[in-house]
Symmetry: C2
Subunit: 233 residues, 2 copies
């Protein structure tokens, strides 16, 4: 693809492995990591240092002028520490602002921003932030300057009717049939935050959202029927 | 200071702590870390993720538009894996090229590059590289476009005649009296790589090198006699 690109990556499994090796207890709530000070250091190390720089160095070897960024670098993604309600998620950031100008400047210089799922609060603190949310917020912000396509890559062929059957891909999904699937408990729980993010992005100006298998990404130009294409209507 | 700045940081002590917690054995030779695959991951995490992003987020909080970079990001510092002679240093990089253009572009955009002591080989591999060397090589490369001052900050007041006496600062040092001090074994062994780097940078176009206490950096504008000023003659 000749289009300008931004890559947002995760690293949760590696963070959990490193935390285990360091003897830290990994605490989750509804699939979201609870991030105390020690765990913040782990995700900062794993996302910002290990995973991000492995991706950047590999892309550079392929001739792609990648630049790895956390939300703090160039102030690209600002967040606030999530307020404590029933659960204290710790050093977790809810995105407040994506710096479209800084990212556009890089894109216009033929750089490819590689965003780690880390934000900052503008007061000197790094925060852990879900990669899907950063992807959705970034796509939304970029849509004020570009026609933006948001591609969620994961290990399944797309959104499945039956999580155990890779041939059950829902090829297109709109708000109405998403609501129906939800009412019928068809959608796997782990998909719901990703889909909520997708619809949120579409409502704020993103042109298209596709949920697809990472290995299929290279085929997306040539084949229309890859993954699940999400639209409002 | 209103001058444009680049900060190069270290992090060796924290890397050693993290390696200890992970149960890895830290191997050194002549004060240089031997970097096997597991240690490369540690330094990548600690330098690129933990230390770099802590500095960047703190600078952003102070209104400084910092951007944290390893050598791989924007291809700013390219290196080759050190050839194995008597000692195999492992994944350690000897700098071959600093991307003056990429750094200048950032500086001209009022960004402040914060360089972690990590390089890449252009083939997809990250490498561990001494921060003093990156500082010297970067200052040298930047001197083709800017009048460049190279400031080495550390925990002592400057180069000392007596390592146990902070009042014994050598206020100025040139090649001739450096050779004399070396012959007399006056210079503390740990200073020698730093001083060799300093003279190398001066010979390649850097205007001035100062070795000073980090806490004194804020006073360098107002007081001439801070630290050790190094010149060729």
């Amino acid at each position: 693809m000749k289009e300008k690109k931004i890559l947002i990556h995760g690293g949760g499994k590696i963070a959990t492995q490193v935390a285990d090796k360091l003897g830290l207890e990994v605490k989750m709530h509804n699939g979201r990591r609870i991030t105390d000070q020690a765990m913040l250091e782990v995700v900062q190390m794993v996302y910002g240092g290990l995973v991000n720089k492995n991706i950047v160095s590999m892309l550079q070897a392929l001739g792609c002028n990648a630049v790895g960024l956390t939300g703090a670098d160039l102030n690209v993604v600002r967040a606030v520490k999530r307020p404590v309600k029933d659960i204290d998620y710790g050093f977790v950031g809810d995105v407040t602002q994506v710096n479209q100008k800084a990212l556009s400047d890089l894109l216009e210089n033929d750089c490819v921003p590689i965003l780690a799922p880390l934000t900052h609060d503008g007061k000197g603190n790094m925060l852990n932030t879900n990669a899907d949310t950063i992807a959705s917020e970034t796509a939304t912000a970029m849509s004020s300057a570009y026609q933006t396509h948001l591609l969620y890559c994961f290990e399944k062929k797309g959104v499945l009717k039956d999580v155990n059957d890779e041939s059950s891909v829902i090829t297109s999904l709109n708000e109405k049939n998403y609501a129906e699937y939800l009412a019928q408990n068809v959608i796997f729980a782990g998909m719901i935050p990703k889909l909520d993010n997708a619809f949120s992005a579409l409502k704020k100006g993103v042109r298209e959202v596709v949920i697809l298998e990472a290995d299929n990404l290279q085929n997306i130009e040539n084949q229309y029927f890859i993954g699940t294409r999400i639209t409002l209507q």
